[in-house]
């Protein structure tokens, strides 16, 4: 099995690691970088539990090889909050009870963050379409929709995500 050296910045923290060429980005994040907030819920890229931002774009990290992310910046759920406060999306999920077991939540929060970067004021249909790639088995989605709307009205994607996206586009 061939190995490659990759340089990947995660949540603003640079890293340089040897990875197997077949290692998935999600396993790189969870195991190599020890960031276990990003979850795995399927093996067919349907569930979205593994959603992260890669250079400003929402991706399912189970469909990206770590080597393909070489030279990239990744934002995971761990990178959204700062010492002081959770991001508006995280706050929205709490205020509107947008999570129960919490397993889909990191992916859902990242998908919602990605949506708000693109569309700061989505309507209900746009929110539902925007999280179409993410499955939640607990909530029935309505309170997730409410959570995203709350976030849109209370600060949007948040500082960490906006900074991440700006760096990616510059």
């Amino acid at each position: 099995m061939s190995h490659h050296k990759v340089r990947i910045s995660v949540n603003g923290v640079p890293g340089e690691d040897e990875v197997e060429s077949r290692r998935l980005l999600v396993h790189y994040l969870r195991e190599t970088r020890g960031l276990t907030g990003t979850h795995v819920g399927c093996d067919t890229s349907n569930c979205g539990a593994c959603t992260v931002l890669l250079d400003g774009m929402t991706v399912k990290s189970c469909t990206v090889l770590a080597v393909a992310a070489d030279g990239s910046e990744v934002l995971t759920v761990e990178g959204l909050a700062d010492d002081e406060a959770m991001s508006p999306v995280q706050e929205g999920f709490r205020a509107c009870h947008g999570l129960q077991c919490g397993y889909c939540t990191p992916g859902m929060v990242m998908a919602a963050t990605g949506l708000l970067l693109e569309n700061p004021a989505p309507d209900e249909a746009e929110i539902r379409a925007g999280i179409e790639g993410n499955l939640c088995r607990c909530t029935g989605y309505q309170m997730i929709v409410d959570s995203v709307r709350w976030a849109a009205e209370n600060g949007g994607a948040g500082t960490a995500a906006t900074t991440h996206a700006e760096r990616a586009s510059s």
């Binding site: 399927c42 067919t44 129960q100 919490g102 209900e124 029935g140 989605y141």
Partner: protein
């Protein structure tokens, strides 16, 4: 009750889960952990003629490869006596996905690589992948040592109701199917076993840690104190994580053998065939009724497909279906019976509602059939049959099944204040006549189900030690509190709701109350979270323990205030002589004092820590009335739920925010069963729905917004008055949706649509009905 019961408090569990700092089993790291990977059967029924593990054993990183033959003396998992399932296939495979061999390697990728190298030769046996095939005259028994594939048959009523059916002015036979569904918790099964000389520790995705500890101990002949089961954050369960899987036991055994921690992480594709499925019942119903639609007699014969190996809980579910077959209606005679049939499919166990949604679907479809037969309105037929509040508690004809305080007609009335039924009917008729408009249908579901499982005599039948739950409440010297509970939440929010109960009793801020659960080493004996028992049974234990702490604190406070106990009151965490502005002592001061034995009143033991068990006097019976409005696209047959209104009576609501979440989640799964989900197999027993591409778990665009309302009739069966609500939505929704779909098509002569009401099925009905 004070102000915290009924408060919409945001959850204490959320910040960790929202920032990626939750602790799911797969997030735990133990040094030296090895990974398990399974070789699973690609065929549904075959003899194993040879297994070659040599190449796999020599592959990089491999610590060992085992088959059934390599593990002599390994006992089977516990199940119905005579039908115990071996941990690895013992010479034959009986469903696609059954484990044949297992590899342990130093890395998950290497373990998966090596599993690919195991060669298994199969000699095909006849596949019996359906009840029809398994009960055919020439069908050979699938399980060893049995005569037939009908493994359990039971008649639950003394009568067959034939006389009453024959005497009824109208009689109708109906066949209904409750299709096989998959629970699909977003976190699959994960297990991390660490066998050390001092004993066994297992981190597990389970709803029942104490029960699992008992299973491990019994299986390995260990003392229960040597086994520690920890369920940290668990990513949903829906009943399917209450079963004890062979993978758990093997992980422990292989950790013992390789002398390092062993981790098993199921893939979703494995999960779709390994985790128990739910429902899988067929009902042959006969109903007798009069001209007003009054139900006079009901006979229901249930056939359960229990899969290849009967699951301990799974085989008990048709009993619950039988008990609930009368729904919320006054039916003078009910005859219920069932049979469980083994087939070459994944075993069937509990799935949200577990046995009760099947009953509710049956009786609610029956009522709509009766209404259609008589040309009467389904709401009116419900009204003549609903049990009235003054008849509560209502003893059904099944012994011990007594409905508690409720107001079934009141729920329907409240529902109709939120739904303009006349207007909807007008719109339905108008849209019918307008070929450019979608067809509109209105469906109702008035339901009752079981919550608050126990009591012990009932729960013992499912293999549990008891039907009670336990709680321990301890005050620390600064007046903050720690609760320990035997329930094991996996999304229900017990950290919040149980803190609310204690806050309410003791006047402590909920931010100063923490909850420990899901660890058999730290929590007193407990049972677990299933059967909507969290709030009614677990919450009641918390209530009782807090009450005991309060009583003791009051006694110590009175001593400190030099007052009579009966004169002292506790408000907002402060004790004072009632009606005075005199001296006060805080709860913190009392807690500190409780640890100074020499300053305590005579006969009072030190400490402010109390344990309580709550054994429910009976099940509780959440009920409600739901209405679903659908639109059907005439071109494609696609069904859209355009409105869903739910009135639920779950008794006392502890936290309305969380209650709404529970109802929504149940509704989503119920609507999904009605419209999207079905686990199916082809004739060869190959699953057609073996992953999330082929099995439709609905996404946000596939589900509607929900309107939820409560009617509160507290139950007298527990001190909180809570009935439970986790399963209500899943119990009520399927028939509300299907009744609406049938209503939309009724002008075409359609009387029934089988779940799931897929576009293809509905399109077919639209076209055959149109063309006929």
């Amino acid at each position: 009750m004070g102000s915290m019961i009924g408060a919409a408090v945001v959850r204490k569990e959320d910040p960790a889960l929202l920032t990626g700092r939750g602790t799911f089993v797969e997030d735990l790291r133990l040094p030296g952990t090895a990974y398990m990977a399974y070789v699973r059967s690609p065929v549904a029924h075959a003899r194993i003629t040879a297994i070659d593990t040599q190449e796999a054993a020599a592959a990089p990183g491999v610590l060992g490869v085992w088959t059934h033959a390599d593990l002599p003396g390994l006992p089977p998992t516990r199940s119905v006596p005579g039908m115990e399932r071996p941990c690895l296939a013992d010479g034959a495979v009986r469903f696609v996905g059954e484990a044949v061999a297992v590899v342990v390697a130093t890395d998950r990728y290497l373990a998966a690589d090596a599993a690919e190298l195991v060669e298994v030769d199969y000699d095909d046996l006849p596949v019996l992948a359906s009840v029809a095939a398994a009960t055919a005259a020439d069908a050979a028994p699938i399980l060893p040592g049995l005569e037939s594939n009908v493994v359990l048959e039971q008649v639950l009523s003394a009568t067959d109701a034939e006389a009453e059916l024959a005497a009824a002015p109208h009689r109708m036979a109906i066949r209904l199917r409750n299709q096989r569904c998959a629970a699909v918790p977003m976190e699959p099964t994960v297990c991390l076993a660490d066998w050390q000389h001092s004993g066994l520790t297992v981190y597990l995705t389970t709803q029942t840690p104490h029960h699992m500890r008992n299973e491990f101990a019994q299986w390995f002949g260990l003392a229960q104190e040597q086994v520690r089961v920890i369920a940290p954050d668990v990513g949903g369960g829906f009943g399917a994580k209450a079963s004890c899987y062979p993978e758990f036991l093997l992980a422990a055994e292989l950790s013992r053998r390789v002398q390092r921690p062993v981790r098993y992480v199921e893939t979703r594709s494995e999960n779709m065939t390994s985790m128990v499925h739910g429902r899988a019942q067929e009902h042959d119903v006969e109903v007798g009724f009069d001209d007003d639609g009054r139900l006079l007699a009901l006979r229901v014969r249930i056939t359960q497909d229990c899969g290849a190996w009967p699951d301990t809980t799974g085989v008990g579910l048709p009993t619950l279906t039988s008990f609930m077959s009368g729904g919320c209606y006054r039916i003078p005679v009910i005859a219920a019976s069932f049979r469980s049939v083994v087939t070459n499919t994944t075993p069937v166990g509990s799935y949200r509602g577990a046995g009760r949604p099947e009953a509710s679907y049956m009786i609610e479809r029956v009522v709509d059939h009766v209404a259609a037969e008589l040309g009467r309105d389904p709401v009116e037929v419900r009204r003549v049959n609903l049990i009235r509040p003054d008849e509560m508690p209502y003893a059904t004809q099944f012994e011990g099944i007594v409905y508690d305080e409720a107001n079934y007609p009141g729920c329907l009335d409240l529902l109709l204040t939120h739904v303009d039924y006349d207007d909807l009917r007008r719109r339905r008729d108008a849209q019918r006549d307008d070929p450019t408009a979608p067809l509109l249908g209105i469906g109702f579901s008035t339901f009752v189900e079981m919550g608050g499982f126990g009591p012990t005599p009932l729960f013992e039948q499912f293999g549990y030690v008891g039907g009670w739950e336990s709680a321990n409440v301890r005050l620390t010297t600064d007046g903050s509190a720690v609760i320990k509970v035997g329930t094991s939440p996996h999304g229900q929010g017990h950290k919040t709701t149980f803190a609310q109960i204690v806050a309410d009793q003791l006047g402590i801020d909920i931010d100063r109350i923490s909850l420990l659960h899901g660890d058999t080493a730290t929590v007193q004996e407990g049972i677990g979270t299933m059967g909507s028992r969290g709030a009614p049974v677990g919450g009641s234990a918390v209530f009782k323990a807090a009450d005991k702490v309060r009583a003791k604190a009051l006694r110590i406070a009175a001593h400190m205030l030099e007052a009579d106990e009966s004169d002292v009151e506790l408000t907002d965490g402060t004790f004072r002589v009632a009606g005075t502005t005199g001296p006060t002592v805080t709860l913190a001061e009392v807690a500190l004092r409780s640890l100074k034995p020499h300053l305590l009143p005579e006969g009072v033991d030190p400490g402010l820590e109390e344990t309580a068990h709550h054994e429910p006097s009976n099940l509780s019976y959440p009920s409600g009335a739901h209405c679903c409005v659908v639109e059907i696209d005439r071109e494609t047959g696609r069904v859209d739920v355009v409105r869903y209104v739910a009135v639920d009576d779950c008794g006392t609501v502890i936290n309305p925010l969380l209650a709404t979440g529970q109802i929504h989640g149940g509704l989503a799964q119920g609507i999904a069963q009605a419209l999207y989900e079905e686990v199916s197999y082809d004739e060869d027993g190959q699953p057609r729905t073996g992953n999330l591409v082929t099995y439709t778990v609905p996404a946000a665009e596939d589900l509607p917004p929900y309107e939820t309302h409560h009617l509160v009739t507290p139950t007298s069966f527990n001190p909180l008055g809570a009935k439970g609500l986790g399963e209500s939505g899943a119990t009520a929704a399927p028939q509300a949706v299907v009744n609406a779909v049938v209503d939309a098509l009724s002008h075409l002569g359609v009387r029934d649509v089988e779940m799931p009401c897929t576009p293809a099925k509905v399109w077919g009905l639209l076209n055959t009905a149109n063309g006929s």
